[in-house]
Symmetry: C2
Subunit: 192 residues, 2 copies
DNA sequence: TCTACAAACTAACATTTGTTAGTTTGAGTT
DNA sequence: AACTCAAACTAACAAATGTTAGTTTGTAGA
C-alpha cells in the first residue's frame, strides 16, 4: 500500500501477516505464498527475515520520533500539544494499522543495535510525553494526578487503537479524533 | 506462584517466557531448560505445548468472566460498577502479570474450540461492559460520548496495565486503584 | 537478433521444532 | 529385599525453518 515496487509489497504483506500471527509464527514460506512466489525468491528483494522486521518497525518508530519533535518544539499549550499527539497516533494508525501492530507486538524480536536504537527512541518519546504533561500540570492546565498514571492511560489507548479501528466504521477519521480527545482529556463522568 | 506441584510450575514458567518472547518464539526446550530438565520430561506433566497455552489463557479468561457476572449483577450504580471493574483488572494483573500478558498477546494461537470458547467469553465481557456504560449514560451518570470509544479507552488502559506495573513501584496496589479511577473516570483536564 | 539483467525458479543444506518410545532412577511401601 | 510408581532420562523421528547456490525465464535496450 505504498510504493509499488516489489520490496515494498513484501513489507506490506509481511506486516499484515505479522499482525495476524506474530513475527515468530510467520514463515518465509507463508510470506512467499501470499505473494504467489517461492520463499527463495524473496531473497532477490530482501536480505533476511530479520531485516523485514527492522524495516517495518524502525521506520514507523522514526515517524513517531519526528512527530514528537515537531509537536513538542511548537510553542503551543500543553493541552493543545496533547491534542496534536492524539492526532498523530490516529493518523499513523489509520494509514497502516498492521505496521502499528508490529510496532507494538514484534519490537521484542529486534536484536542488538536495532533493539537498542528502538528502545532509545521509545524512551525519548515517553520523556517528551512526560515533559508536556509536567508543564501542563505546573501551569494548571492539567489535573494534579500521578504523572506516570496519566501518561500510561493515554499511551495505552493510543497505542492499541489499531485493535479497535474498524469495529465502528461509523465514525470518520475526523470524528474519531474529536471523540477521542473528548474521552481522553475530559473524562467520562458527567461534569455537572 | 500457585500450587507447588510440578504442573503448576511449568505453567508459571511458560507464562513468564511467553510474556517475554511470545508463544511461538518459546520452545519446549526453552521451558525445560528454565526448569532444569529435558524437554521430553515435561510430557510427564503436560500433554502438549498447545495445552499449556490453553490452560493459561482459558483459566484467566474465565476469571474475568466470573468477575463481570458478579459485578454486573449487583445493583450498584454504573460508576460504582466501573470502579469495581477497574479493581478487578488491577487485582488480577498484580496477582500474575505474565498470565495477563498471555491473555492479551497469545490468545490468537488458540485453535478450534478453544479459540471459539475464548472469543465467546471476550464478546460477553465486552457486552457486559457496554451494558453498564449504556445504563450510566441514560441515567446521566456518564457523559454522552460515543459508547464504543469510551469502552475502548477504558479497556485499552486496563488490559495493558501489565506493561506498566513495575515501572513505578512507588505506588501501592490500593494507591494505584485510586489514581487509576481518578484518571480514567474524571479525566485529565483541570475541572475549573 | 544479441545482450543484460531483474526476478523468478528448483534443489538442497543444517538447525530447530514438537513429540514419542523405551529406559533408568530413587524414594516410599509392603 | 522386592515392588510400585512418579518423574526424570536418552535417543530418535518427521516436519518445518531460514537461507544459499545455481539455473531458467522474460523483457527492454543495443
Amino acid at each position: 500500500m505504498e510504493k509499488s515496487d516489489r520490496k515494498s509489497e513484501i513489507l506490506s504483506v509481511a506486516a499484515r501477516l505479522f499482525r495476524e500471527r506474530g513475527y515468530s509464527a510467520v514463515s518465509m514460506r507463508d510470506i512467499a505464498q501470499e505473494m504467489d512466489m517461492k520463499a527463495a525468491s524473496l531473497y532477490n528483494h530482501i536480505t533476511s527475515k530479520q531485516q523485514i522486521l527492522v524495516s517495518i518497525v524502525i521506520r514507523i518508530a522514526e515517524e513517531f520520533t519526528v512527530g514528537m519533535e515537531r509537536i513538542s518544539s511548537s510553542g503551543d499549550s500543553a493541552i493543545h500539544q496533547l491534542e496534536q499527539l492524539i492526532d498523530l497516533h490516529i493518523e499513523l494508525t489509520l494509514h497502516d494499522p498492521s505496521v502499528i501492530a508490529c510496532l507494538n507486538n514484534d519490537w521484542m524480536h529486534l536484536t542488538d543495535s536495532d533493539l537498542k536504537y528502538f528502545l532509545k527512541m521509545r524512551d525519548k518519546y515517553e520523556e517528551g510525553f512526560k515533559a508536556i504533561l509536567k508543564r501542563g500540570m505546573t501551569n494548571g492546565e492539567i489535573a494534579n494526578v500521578n504523572l506516570e498514571v496519566i501518561m500510561f492511560a493515554l499511551l495505552s489507548t493510543l497505542r492499541t487503537f489499531y485493535l479497535w479501528y474498524g469495529r465502528k466504521k461509523l465514525l470518520s477519521g475526523d470524528e474519531l479524533k474529536v471523540q477521542m480527545k473528548r474521552v481522553l482529556l475530559n473524562g467520562i463522568i458527567t461534569s455537572t
